[in-house]
């Protein structure tokens, strides 16, 4: 059964209710719109897309921090909502963006890292102490930091503490939401190397959310591109970066500034106006900004079309080009 996905989303939708302005009517905001996704063991799924497209919401649903409005989440083929939160936390752990605010400043590093063990009542004091030392060693922190506090550590060290805390329960899946965005590049590379090593060593599976496409290309095995609550393209990392299909993927990749002097800043060919998620554009949500939009793109929402290693949602790849469906 090694082919069964460790984590799967089936038609998951998450709708929030928001009020626009002080006297506005409450309106639904679809943060994730009918998303299906499979994550195989040992894979690193990079999740990319514009600010507000629903990446963190997806992460929260996977972590069980938000209940989907409809659809289901399966871990190792089991439905998530049937399992209790604690059991889930042993298998899926998060690493968030901000190593400054996510660690309690009044607790020692040993307390912070051992907290999950105490919550889950694992082992006695001595064995927990051993486990903390072991995990600190794995993430490259000396045992003497156990009695220090977050304020005495650098950004990279704090993020290592956050990783140690996430790994001490030996989870199978780690959800990383912008784990290196707040860090200097010299620290970022240490954390990326560490995440790569841990994956090799423990067969971890990652969902890796990042705005930095060079980092995603480096670490991910698969990539999902999100736009306004939908995964508009999914492919292996090689396929996505070598032959992006969706015009939004193309725009995203073309805006990557590689450190090559003299090449100037590329033109993304993309309008700047991010659509209102409460009132998304008709048809294909991306059509108002799409350089290749066709008339029917404004009328007909594209369906997922299979590609050699994933799917794409775009009328350009639809034989009927959307007309037949209209």
């Amino acid at each position: 059964m090694s082919d069964a996905p460790v984590l799967e989303l089936r038609n998951v939708t998450k709708t929030y209710t928001v009020k626009q302005g002080m006297f506005g009517e409450p309106k639904p905001l679809t943060a994730i719109n009918d998303v299906s996704l499979k994550l195989g063991r040992g894979e690193v799924l990079g999740l990319v897309g514009e600010s507000g497209c629903g990446k963190s919401t997806l992460a929260k649903v996977l972590l069980g921090l938000e209940a989907p409005s409809s659809g289901e989440v399966l871990v190792d083929g089991e439905r998530l909502d049937g399992q209790d939160r604690r059991k889930l936390a042993r298998r899926i752990q998060p690493i968030f963006q901000d190593p400054y605010s996510s660690l309690n400043p009044r607790k020692s590093i040993a307390d912070i890292v051992s907290l999950p063990l105490r919550v889950h009542k694992v082992g006695d004091a001595a064995s927990r102490d051993r486990a903390v030392r072991e995990i600190l060693d794995i993430v490259g922190l000396p045992a003497r930091v156990m009695n220090t506090y977050p304020s005495q550590m650098s950004g990279g060290q704090r993020q290592r503490v956050a990783i140690a805390r996430a790994l001490i329960m030996k989870p199978e899946i780690v959800i990383c939401d912008e784990p290196t965005s707040a860090l200097d590049v010299s620290v970022q590379s240490q954390i990326l190397n560490l995440l790569g090593d841990l994956r090799q060593e423990f067969g971890l599976t990652y969902l890796f959310i990042s705005h930095n496409l060079a980092v995603v290309e480096h670490l991910a095995t698969r990539v999902a591109v999100m736009y306004l609550g939908r995964i508009v393209e999914e492919a292996s990392v090689g396929e996505l970066f070598d032959t992006p299909r969706h015009p939004y993927s193309v725009a995203l990749l073309s805006s990557v500034l590689t450190p090559e002097p003299g090449r100037g800043v590329p033109d993304t060919q993309l309008g700047a106006v991010f659509p209102n998620p409460i009132d998304p554009p008709s048809g294909c949500h991306f059509h108002p900004r799409c350089a290749r939009a066709m008339p029917h793109c404004a009328q007909v929402a594209p369906r997922p079309l299979p590609t050699p290693e994933g799917h794409v949602e775009c009328h350009l790849y639809d034989d009927s080009r959307g007309r037949a469906v209209a």
Partner: protein, 334 residues
């Protein structure tokens, strides 16, 4: 004259009194900038990039002291200038874009009022002319239906739009020098590319010089004429962008460039370069090279006086005991 720099800084030093003594945050940095040129300052968090720009703008907090043997902006001594002189320069001839747009947009006033005030304060123009310029600039920075935006308040705009408004505001008086501190760090990559393109276009159009502070080496490579690499309060390497990227010399610069994955060059999943260790404390007396504790090229001499070395006919300068930033095989490591 074209060969006279617009901005020339020698020995800029910034000290901050802190509980445990004096923080020597910036220690004797030199750089210059010609009209229309772009200088990018990159470097570790906390290395003094923002303080440097605030010092030039005369916006450091009262407790912080600055000095320099030279800080000349087109004939004005930026350190000796009175508050009144500085107020006149700021906005009119030097402008700044801050990382967080909300720090410089006033939430209580409309976008229009803030843009128009910026101009009325510094230039002898009528309100109607100022309003026209505000609309024209908002359109230039890619804001649609600009005239109707004038009546909106900052909180009614998205982050990307606010950052554009900030840029428009900084450009209202056509400054000769624009200092932008991480102007795109908080934005999406697509919007980042759009805003940088826009800045470069407007800069060319107005022949404006620009100092851009960023952590992002990709941004630096694509827009800098000159690069200054800052580490722990010193400019450890300065030079033309092409030289810095094609022949980085200081061990910190080389380390930095090795840390980032470069699409098409770094093998996917391969180990990235790292710079182990942490930045030293700059409280109290600071001697020797501040990078020596993290440097693979360190030798005992790194504790002493560090010479300035110039390369490529003086265009590239490094602060290092090694001529070419590398320890000879015969030298003993520290």
């Amino acid at each position: 004259m074209t060969d006279k720099p617009l901005l020339s800084v020698r020995g800029l030093t910034i000290d901050i009194p802190v509980a445990s003594g004096t923080l020597h945050a910036v220690r004797g940095i030199d750089f210059e900038l010609m009209k229309g040129e772009t200088l990018c300052i990159v470097g570790e968090s906390g290395s003094g990039k923002s303080l440097t720009s605030l010092a030039l703008m005369g916006l450091l907090g009262g407790r912080i002291s600055r000095r320099a043997s030279r800080a000349d902006f087109d004939g004005t001594d930026l350190i000796a200038a009175s508050n009144r002189q500085m107020r006149r320069l700021r906005g009119a001839r030097m402008a700044m874009i801050f990382q967080e747009p909300m720090t410089s947009l006033n939430p209580a006033y409309t976008i229009g009022d803030q843009l128009i005030e910026a101009l009325l304060l510094h230039k002898k123009v009528g309100r109607a002319a100022a309003r026209d310029r505000a609309v024209a600039l908002l359109e230039k920075v890619g804001i649609t239906s600009a005239a109707s935006r004038l009546g909106q308040y900052p909180h009614q705009l998205s982050g990307g739009l606010r950052q554009r408004v900030m840029i428009a505001m900084a450009l209202m008086c056509e400054p000769d020098l624009l200092i932008a501190d991480e102007p795109t760090t908080a934005l999406d990559v697509t919007i980042q590319a759009q805003i940088l393109r826009l800045l470069v276009d407007l800069q060319r159009e107005m022949n404006m010089a620009m100092i851009l502070i960023t952590h992002d080496l990709g941004v630096v490579a694509r827009i800098a004429d000159k690069v200054a690499v800052m580490y722990a309060g010193e400019l450890v390497e300065t030079g033309p962008a092409a030289d810095i990227f094609n022949a980085p010399t200081h061990p910190y610069t080389r380390g930095l460039i090795n840390c980032i994955p470069v699409p098409g060059k770094t093998a996917r999943g391969a180990k990235l370069g790292t710079i182990p260790g942490i930045v030293p404390s700059l409280v109290g007396e600071v001697t020797g090279c501040p990078f020596r504790t993290r440097c693979s090229e360190a030798v005992p001499a790194c504790r002493g006086e560090i010479p300035v070395r110039t390369r490529h006919a003086g265009r590239q300068r490094i602060l290092c005991v090694h001529e070419d930033g590398q320890r000879a095989a015969s030298e003993v490591p520290a």
